[in-house]
């Protein structure tokens, strides 16, 4: 069997935008077409940015894609609200705190 990387990559269903939550470019475009045209909306309908990396990967990609789709300069596309924690910490570690 011969892999065809170029055809494969042309299919928006095969382009992962949010790797934490497995969201594809096709899903992103469908949500934008429905009128969800900012990162906060897209986070809520697609879960982009809700995974362990907290939008550190997909946030930039979506920002660029929104700028292109909306024909706006990228500085006008707001990033989403950053929320704690900076990185995952287990509940046990939080309970143990500084004692360890």
């Amino acid at each position: 069997m011969i892999l065809r990387p170029s055809n494969h990559m042309n299919d928006k269903n095969n382009i992962i935008i949010c790797r934490c939550e497995d969201v594809t470019l096709a899903e992103l475009d469908a949500a934008i077409d429905k009128g969800f045209t900012n990162l906060e909306d897209l986070k809520r309908v697609l879960r982009v940015g809700m995974g362990p990396c907290q939008a550190n990967t997909c946030g930039h990609l979506i920002q660029m894609h929104l700028a292109a789709r909306l024909k706006k300069p990228i500085e006008e596309i707001k990033k989403q609200q950053a929320r704690p924690l900076l990185m995952g910490v287990t509940l046990n570690d939080i309970v143990d705190g500084l004692d360890k």
Partner: protein
């Protein structure tokens, strides 16, 4: 701009009211929201739904709402999934006194057609084996309770309302109103001035401020309630686990994450919705005490949102004596999401002066001025 109905707030209450009015044939409805999609309490809530309440009114409202959620996807013809996970709430009693109260609650709930059960510790452990047996004495369980995706549920209402002609605008904040002869003559927003026949205050945490613009004093206030979410794991917990005395609710959502929240008894009234390390610390201690296995889970995110508190912890779904054409749906005290189906139905009936599906005297804003012994709901986290 002339409008027949202007709804302030596109959260779950606002979209449900818009849908119910439009379904009854009301035209020219517009919904404004000051933020993005589900930016207020709806998008921040734990999104649990339960019929296990301690006042007859809340039992009745919640049961009718759950009946709707069971068929919401079909009724609203939604192309997505609302993710209704109907695997019950397990509510833990941690003292003998609380257990006695729960027996009374179950009696009331059963009398209203709610299939809740009183469970021994062993029976509860059969349902959620990872509970710490030392942390509780008994429990109640109701299998029709559950959890929905709050974003998808709101979207389902919004898309259905749009198909019925309702229009929406986001990032548009109401900043002033003018009144004359006990009527609202105009509503000014950051981008537009409306002249509506009917104004609906579904502004959640800001409903008191919207009421004040119309000259109506609504006896509610907002307070911050915090939640955290963990990394997703394979399914290990069916029901929501909740305890009023230990101050916790904890649910594994279909996505795999655990969501857990608790109240801060010392929280100040107001619109601040910050995340605090104190919450994280107390939440982690409470959760790992009740369910030690959860200690291995990583917290990925925490956030806060507003409960809009009423004096009796029950909603205000009502017209007003002072201002004709001004209607209110607020004061849900942390339960606006789960009551939204009945909120929209009742307020549309009130606005159209139809017979109401439930006796609405106890939901009327007048109850706080005309009634001395209000019945306060105690089953609240």
């Amino acid at each position: 701009m002339k409008k027949n109905v202007l709804i302030i707030g596109a959260g779950i209450s606002g979209v449900s009211i818009a849908y119910n009015l439009a379904k009854k044939g009301v035209q020219d409805i517009h919904v404004v929201d000051k933020g993005h999609f589900t930016s207020g309490a709806t998008g921040r809530c734990g999104a649990g739904v339960r019929a296990q309440w301690a006042t007859p009114l809340n039992c009745q409202l919640a049961k009718m709402s759950i009946d709707f959620f069971e068929h919401a996807k079909e009724i609203l013809e939604y192309d997505g999934e609302i993710e209704f996970k109907q695997e019950g709430y397990l509510i833990l009693a941690t003292t003998e006194a609380e257990a006695r109260q729960f027996k009374d609650n179950v009696k009331l709930q059963n009398s209203m057609g709610i299939p809740s059960k009183y469970l021994s510790k062993e029976e509860a452990l059969n349902i959620v084996p990872h509970l710490n047996p030392e942390a509780f004495v008994a429990a109640t369980f109701c299998g029709i309770d559950g959890h929905l995706n709050p974003f998808k549920m709101t979207d389902a209402y919004m898309q259905a309302a749009k198909r019925l002609g309702v229009t929406f605008s986001f990032f548009e904040e109401v900043i002033a109103m003018t009144t004359s002869n006990h009527r609202i003559t105009s509503v000014k927003t950051t981008t537009e001035t409306y002249e509506p026949n009917i104004v609906v205050d579904a502004a959640g945490g800001y409903s008191q401020e919207i009421g004040a613009m119309a000259g109506v004093t609504i006896p509610v206030y907002s307070e911050n309630h915090q939640i955290l979410a963990t990394e997703p794991i394979e399914k290990m917990q069916g029901p929501m686990v909740m305890s009023f005395s230990k101050n916790i609710y904890c649910q594994q959502v279909p996505h795999g994450s655990f969501l857990m929240g608790r109240s801060d008894p010392f929280v100040e009234k107001g619109h601040q919705i910050q995340s605090s390390w104190q919450f994280l610390d107390e939440m982690a201690k409470t959760a790992t005490h009740i369910m030690p296995l959860l200690g291995k889970l990583r917290v990925v995110r925490q956030w806060g949102g507003s409960y809009n508190m009423s004096p009796d912890r029950q909603p205000i779904i009502s017209g007003t004596e002072d201002v004709d054409g001004f209607y209110i749906a607020c004061g849900f005290s942390g339960h606006g999401f789960m009551l939204a189906p009945i909120t929209g139905l009742l307020l549309s009936e009130i606005i159209l002066k139809e017979p109401t599906s439930v006796d609405v005297t106890t939901l009327d804003i007048k109850r706080f001025t005309h009634q001395k012994d209000i019945n306060i709901e105690k089953s609240v986290v």
